[in-house]
C-alpha cells in the first residue's frame, strides 16, 4: 500500500497553492539543507518539466529556497524566503531547463559555501510527497513511500553493521537498503527505508557511531 497513514490524506499543513509544486518543492530544498548540514552561501537550482513551466505562479522558487533555509511546508516565511535568503547574503540563481526528464516535476539543487558543495536531484510525486533520485552523483532509489534515513559515512568495515544494530535495538524494521560509493575506502552513502518514522534520538545515536559523518531523515 502506497499510503500508510490517515495524515497522508488529511495533511500536510502547508502554504499553498500546490502540494506538489509548493510543499513538495519545500521538502526537496529542506532535504538538501539537512544533508548539507548548514546554511549554504549560494544556491543554484535547475528546474525541469512542469516545475520549469509553472514555478513562478506556484511559488516553487520561494518554496525551494524556503526549504534550503530549513523552513517546513507550513512556515509562512516561505513566501518571503528569497528576500530573507538575499538579506542573509545568499547568492541565488534559477535555471529553466529544456531537457526532458523522467518525471515532470524535477529540480536539481546545487548548494554550497567556501567549505563544501552538495548537489541533489529531487522529484515531487504528488500530495507533497517527494523522492530524491540523486545525491552528489550517487544514484538513489528512494521510493518516497516510506520514511527513510540517509547516512553519509566513510567506507570502512563495520559501518553498515553498526547502523543496522542501532535500528534493530530500537525495533525499527528496514524495508529497503542500499549502499553506494564512488571509490573504495572513501565517502559512501547508505539509503535506508524503514517501516516507521524514526525518532530524533535514534538518529543522534547513529550519528555518534564511528565513521558516520551525517544522518538525515526523510519523513514519509
Amino acid at each position: 500500500m502506497k499510503y500508510k497513514s490517515v495524515f497522508d490524506i488529511i495533511g500536510p499543513i502547508m502554504i499553498g497553492p500546490s502540494s506538489s509544486h509548493t510543499a513538495g518543492a519545500a521538502r526537496i530544498g529542506r532535504v538538501a539543507r539537512s544533508i548539507f548540514g548548514r546554511e549554504p552561501k549560494w544556491a543554484s537550482i535547475s528546474l525541469y518539466g512542469s516545475f520549469a513551466q509553472t514555478y513562478k505562479g506556484h511559488g516553487t522558487d520561494v518554496a525551494l529556497i524556503g526549504g534550503i533555509l530549513d523552513f517546513d511546508t507550513d512556515d509562512e516565511r516561505i513566501i518571503k524566503a528569497i528576500d530573507i535568503a538575499t538579506e542573509k547574503g545568499m547568492k541565488i540563481s534559477f535555471v529553466e531547463e529544456d531537457a526532458i526528464t523522467d518525471h515532470p516535476n524535477t529540480a536539481r539543487v546545487f548548494i554550497g559555501d567556501d567549505q563544501g558543495e552538495l548537489e541533489l536531484v529531487g522529484i515531487s510525486i504528488g500530495g507533497g510527497k517527494i523522492e530524491i533520485i540523486e545525491l552528489n552523483g550517487f544514484e538513489l532509489k528512494l521510493s518516497g513511500h516510506h520514511p527513510a534515513i540517509l547516512v553519509v559515512h566513510n567506507d570502512r568495515f563495520g559501518a553498515i553493521a553498526n547502523v543496522a544494530s542501532v535500528l534493530a535495538k530500537h525495533e525499527i524494521n528496514i524495508g529497503h537498503m542500499e549502499v553506494s560509493r564512488k571509490e573504495v575506502g572513501k565517502l559512501a552513502l547508505m539509503t535506508i527505508e524503514v517501516d516507521h518514522n524514526i525518532e530524533d534520538f535514534v538518529l543522534s545515536e547513529i550519528e555518534q557511531l564511528p565513521n558516520i559523518l551525517r544522518v538525515t531523515k526523510i519523513v514519509d
Binding site: V6, I13, M14, G16, G126, G127
Partner: protein, 294 residues
C-alpha cells in the same frame, strides 16, 4: 488494515463502531501511539482549516489576480436570504471557495487530500456544523471518516491530478466529504459508502486543466461544486438511496478512467480550459510571455 471500502464498512458494522473509530484505531497501530495523541494531531489540522476559512471569508486575492473575493460575494448573498438552493449547501460552497482562495493566495491550508482540493472537506464540515451542532470531538472524527475513504482511494486508485485528473482530486475530496457528512448526521457505515459512491460517480471523467498551470482556475469553483455535490449525495444516501454500482467498483472505474485520460488533460495546462483562447491569453499575461511563444 482495511484495503477497500467493503472491508472498512464490514469492520465498522461487525464491531458496531463508526467508520471514524476504525480509522483512528488503525492509525494508533501504525503510529504505535494513543488515541489522545492521534486525536490531537488531527485537531491541529482542524484548527488550520478553521483559520483558512475565516481568512478567506474576509477576502483574499492571489498573486496572479485570477482568484479571490468570491467567498465574500457568496457570504453576502446568503445573508440577504433570497437564495434558491439550501443555506447549508451554499454555506459549504462559500467555505470551500474561501479555503481554496486562501490556498491560491499562498496562505496556510491543510491538504485534504491535496492542496488543490483542500476546500471541499472543510467547506462541508463547517456548513454542516451550523446545522448539526456537533461536539469538537465529532468534528475531529469527521476528518477521520473523510480520511478513511481517502485512504482507500489513494491506495487503490489515485489522489493526484497529474495521475488521474480532477476526478482524483476534487472527486475524491467530494466523496470523502459526503461519507463524513452521513456519519455526522447519524447515518450507517453502509450509507457513508453509498454517499461516497453517488458523489464519485458524478465526478467521473473530470479532467485537470488548470489555466496557466496555476491551482486557481477552474480549481476554486470545482471545489465549490465538489462541496455541493457532496451535500446533495449525503442527503440522497440518508434518504435511503443506494448506488447500483458498489463504492469500490466506482473507485476502480475512476482509476481506469484516469489511466486512459490523455496527458494534455492531467495537470499539464495543455488542454481543456487551459487551452481556450482566454486561458492562453491569461497565461501569457501572467508570465509575461507573448502568445506566439507558447
Amino acid at each position: 488494515m482495511f484495503r477497500n471500502v467493503a472491508e472498512l464498512v464490514e469492520l465498522a458494522v461487525s464491531q458496531n463502531k463508526q467508520i471514524s473509530d476504525i480509522m483512528i484505531e488503525q492509525e494508533m497501530k501504525v503510529r504505535r501511539t494513543t488515541r489522545e495523541e492521534i486525536m490531537g494531531l488531527m485537531e491541529r489540522n482542524l484548527v488550520v482549516m478553521e483559520e483558512a476559512v475565516e481568512k478567506g471569508i474576509k477576502g483574499v486575492r492571489s498573486h496572479s489576480g485570477l482568484t479571490g473575493g468570491d467567498a465574500v460575494l457568496m457570504q453576502k448573498y446568503i445573508e440577504k436570504g433570497n437564495f434558491l438552493s439550501g443555506q447549508t449547501v451554499l454555506e459549504a460552497v462559500s467555505k470551500a471557495v474561501a479555503t481554496n482562495e486562501v490556498n491560491a493566495a499562498m496562505g496556510t491550508i491543510c491538504a485534504t487530500p491535496t492542496a488543490g482540493s483542500a476546500g471541499v472537506v472543510p467547506g462541508t464540515l463547517f456548513a454542516v456544523k451550523n446545522k448539526l451542532n456537533p461536539t469538537r470531538e465529532e468534528m475531529v472524527k469527521f476528518l477521520f471518516t473523510s480520511g478513511a475513504f481517502g485512504f482507500v482511494v489513494a491506495n487503490n486508485a489515485s489522489i493526484s491530478g497529474a495521475a488521474g485528473g480532477c476526478q482524483a482530486e476534487v472527486g475524491s475530496a467530494a466523496g470523502m466529504a459526503a461519507a463524513a457528512i452521513v456519519e455526522m448526521a447519524g447515518g450507517t457505515p453502509q450509507q457513508c459508502a453509498e454517499a461516497m459512491a453517488i458523489t464519485l460517480k458524478n465526478m467521473l471523467g473530470l479532467v485537470c486543466d488548470p489555466v496557466a498551470g496555476l491551482v486557481e482556475v477552474p480549481c476554486v469553483k470545482r471545489n465549490a461544486m465538489g462541496a455541493a455535490n457532496a451535500m446533495v449525495a449525503a442527503d440522497m444516501a440518508l434518504a435511503g438511496i443506494s448506488s447500483r454500482i458498489p463504492c469500490d467498483e466506482v473507485i476502480e472505474a475512476m482509476f481506469k478512467i484516469g489511466q486512459s485520460m490523455p496527458t494534455a488533460l492531467k495537470e499539464t495546462a495543455q488542454g481543456g480550459l487551459a487551452a481556450t483562447p482566454t486561458g492562453r491569453a491569461l497565461e501569457a499575461k501572467i508570465f509575461g510571455i507573448p502568445l506566439d511563444k507558447k
